[in-house]
Symmetry: D2
Subunit: 285 residues, 4 copies
């Protein structure tokens, strides 16, 4: 089934739901998903609409045009993003040496649950080349040292453009991206941080967790912004630990969290269910 997805943010105004539904209906689109959220504290309105394109009369440009007219009727207070019969998003996975998240994503794609296509894998180490080969994926080795960082990033960006990448996944990629890199993929770079943010920002969060003596550890998938571990959170999960768990045990238990949290966040993102507003996400179900 070919569908269109629409994410809308607006000052809350009477009639927006009706206007949007009517726009789609008059063009013979059958709405198959509608979910709305109003925030009383700031008077904002958010909506996700998905409709079947089979009998729908407008093309993408026509729909954008209709949305512009509709926005004008509401004083141009409305922002939106439209995915019209979108092809599967193309992903680049950036990784270092740790294999678990990369294998997890590759296997999920193979089992048909990824909602996107892993187009290429880029790493600053050679060790995961075999994993890429096993799943028949292009693998590019771009080594990074303090001296070559700028050139390496330029090469990464060149690859991402060449392969027409939509979304970048940092699958336990242990390098910090420059603001310039981040600016090329706004709200399209997803990182998995191995703590329950905002606890234990930065390096070695499992060691920090052990030292603080927490009884639960977590993992957090978030959009990458220029401030370390401060981007909008997409998904989190946790698991229990006890005093018996060493830092190595936390690391092992954490790997299970990382895989699941990253893949759930990515799935929501690739299904165009995530709307970012003021560094917070709405994840429509």
């Amino acid at each position: 089934m070919s569908t269109a997805s629409l994410l809308v943010s607006s000052r809350d105004r009477t009639g927006i739901v009706a206007a949007l539904s009517d726009l789609i209906f008059r063009q013979n689109g059958n709405i198959i998903d509608a979910d709305q959220h109003s925030e009383k504290v700031n008077g904002m309105f958010f909506m996700r609409l998905v409709w079947d394109l089979e009998h729908y009369a407008l093309d993408a440009a026509g729909t954008e045009n209709a949305l512009r007219q509709l926005a004008a009727n509401f004083d141009n207070q409305m922002q939106w993003r439209l995915w019209y019969a979108p092809p599967p998003p193309r992903l680049a996975v950036l990784c270092s040496k740790t294999p678990h998240c990369l294998y997890d994503l590759l296997l999920r794609e193979q089992m048909g649950e990824l909602e996107g296509e892993i187009a290429l894998i880029v790493s600053n180490h050679q060790s995961l080349r075999v994993a890429a080969a096993h799943f028949n994926k292009p693998f590019f080795y771009v080594p990074i040292t303090a001296a070559t960082r700028a050139a390496a990033e330029a090469e990464q960006l060149r690859l991402l453009r060449e392969w027409r990448i939509d979304t970048v996944v940092l699958a336990r990629y242990m390098q910090i991206l420059s603001p310039r890199f981040i600016a090329e993929f706004p709200a399209e770079i997803i990182n998995i941080h191995h703590s329950f943010l905002p606890a234990f920002i930065g390096a070695d969060p499992y060691r920090q967790a052990k030292e603080r003596g927490v009884k639960i550890i977590g993992a957090t998938a978030h959009y990458v912004t220029t401030e370390l571990d401060q981007g909008a959170i997409i998904e989190q999960d946790v698991t229990r630990v006890t005093h018996r768990d060493s830092v190595e045990d936390l690391t092992r238990k954490g790997r299970d969290l990382e895989r699941q949290v990253l893949s759930r966040a990515l799935r929501a993102h690739l299904q165009h269910r995530v709307l970012v507003y003021q560094n917070r996400t709405m994840v429509f179900s």
Copy 2:
């Protein structure tokens, strides 16, 4: 804010969302919550709509009338339930001797989180009269024996009618209700069963759980139907147990589950967020 809530089930047909939104919009209602669910396997469509009545032009009868016309336009395949500026639902709590669920509900009402009003408490024991008195609630003692069961139930029903009860909560009430009782409150009697249904139906589920050696126990809130523990499930939750936990420990841990699961189910029900279809619930968020 005075609102109307609408729950709709229908054969899925192009234009229903638009027609419903348009109906509300044309009467100047501002939609503050819209959530929709389509089931591909059976071609059904479900929706919840909530709108602000402040500037809305129709009264309850007018809205019902408009909905009937709308349904006619869709071949009368649509069922709905409308709550128009509903007063807080009036609850009766039926209990026996165990206090934890009753106290929990009374305290939640006092803290303003219940979304309904506990109008009366009926018990086949005197022991919880003090709890009722502490929270200034009418308490009726209706003893039940095998010989007096029918008369006792008649007295209970008389009380529920006299106090104009909308919803009946079985707060660890250890008696089985007759089909006649149940028929008077369709989808309005909520029970808390102390297992993760459908595991451990019937008596003494914590003992059953201990004997089977499960590693997790649960609790289930469901609508009461004439088949024991077979009604539509509204909410469930679980907690971990180990071999160290005796049946008494399971019972203690389970009490925490029972309170929370019952209150969450009740809250969803009282907010008119639960739609029952073919003995399954949709719980809109």
Copy 3:
């Protein structure tokens, strides 16, 4: 059954388990619980032993004496704490206006699951006097202002001494205790903080959580130390939230966490299952 409980910390040395078990066995004590933990990273050994006193030959003083001799055999590297046929610990609950934690503790005591006795309730407000009265508990109103803080704390301490209090529970008590107060009850004051520590230290953690856009909120029970929210963590738990949850919703959902986390931590403490070492707890199961 009358029992003794022993918590031991020591440099790890061959023969300690055998020496401790042998000490108890030779005096005809039947060990009913033995749990041990060794930390490789710091070479420490921790153990909990519980034994039946029915046929046990030594009294408390004799056991302390035997432990001192045993410790001498291991170069006095061993610390321990012994509870010999301990009476139920006597608790003071300090609270302000919020009722849910206080009711929860009182009801748990009534249902026989508290493992301690709530001896008195102290509050800086009058509003929970009715709850205390309902459960027949002494209630003392000790108002606190900036000007009277020192005198108020002196009065609180006088009450705690007069009522021979072992353990102080801060049941959403919104005041900070002075170092002097804390020093009188080392590792015997338990606070419930309404966040997943170390995230959201300090005031208004639910608002902080909403602003950061976390997908999970938590609660943490910890021993009170002079550094705010930095004491050893005894228990934590979490629950999911979504973008739909307002700060009020987080507060409501959090109350369920607070009750459970506080009561589980308190139960572990009162059963002498919590051993503190370097600001981290071992909670034996």
Copy 4:
């Protein structure tokens, strides 16, 4: 570090803990883990002991002999199982076509977290041969039809013997084993069932779950016995689902549970932390 592990079941008798600790201590063994559990309802005693063999004076046969003498002192009411400097257990993984559990186990072994060695993979389909090859594991294709079932099982058993297999893992292996097969590996065959047992025994549990309308689904790892899905449960876990989740969504979400529950159960088993008594497990931590 070379260690010995001992699991003991016995009628509860004063002095057993001391006798066991003393046996190890007198031979210069340093106990590094001791965990005990007494069941009041049946008067049974269970214990796990792990000790360092570095300075320990007895060999395996000598230790068995000492345990026999000790048992005689306690009226021969004691059963035990000893692993003395055990080599990593050798595993066979039986699978069909579904890849996720097999990849998960292979990757965990590669990351060093398995606590055993996957010695061979046996399947009734060819499709997972590539996964085995990628991880350099022997793969045997043993097709099964109704007509060849007995011969196929004989071939499987021959392979398991030839490769000196200790433990058999059914990684979503969709065939039922004969009693004869099961009898060769008592408490050494672990299955992952894709439901929260005892709910939804047998075929297609996710469909059953959807039809019953549960709000939580689960997975269960258990020892295989001759009664379908009735063996002792080792580990379980659950995840939330909603009315929006189709059977396919439950299947997808369930795969994450299956991986984790199977691997956690297997880890506990391979670390000799699981004691079975009357079809229930004690899983020592």
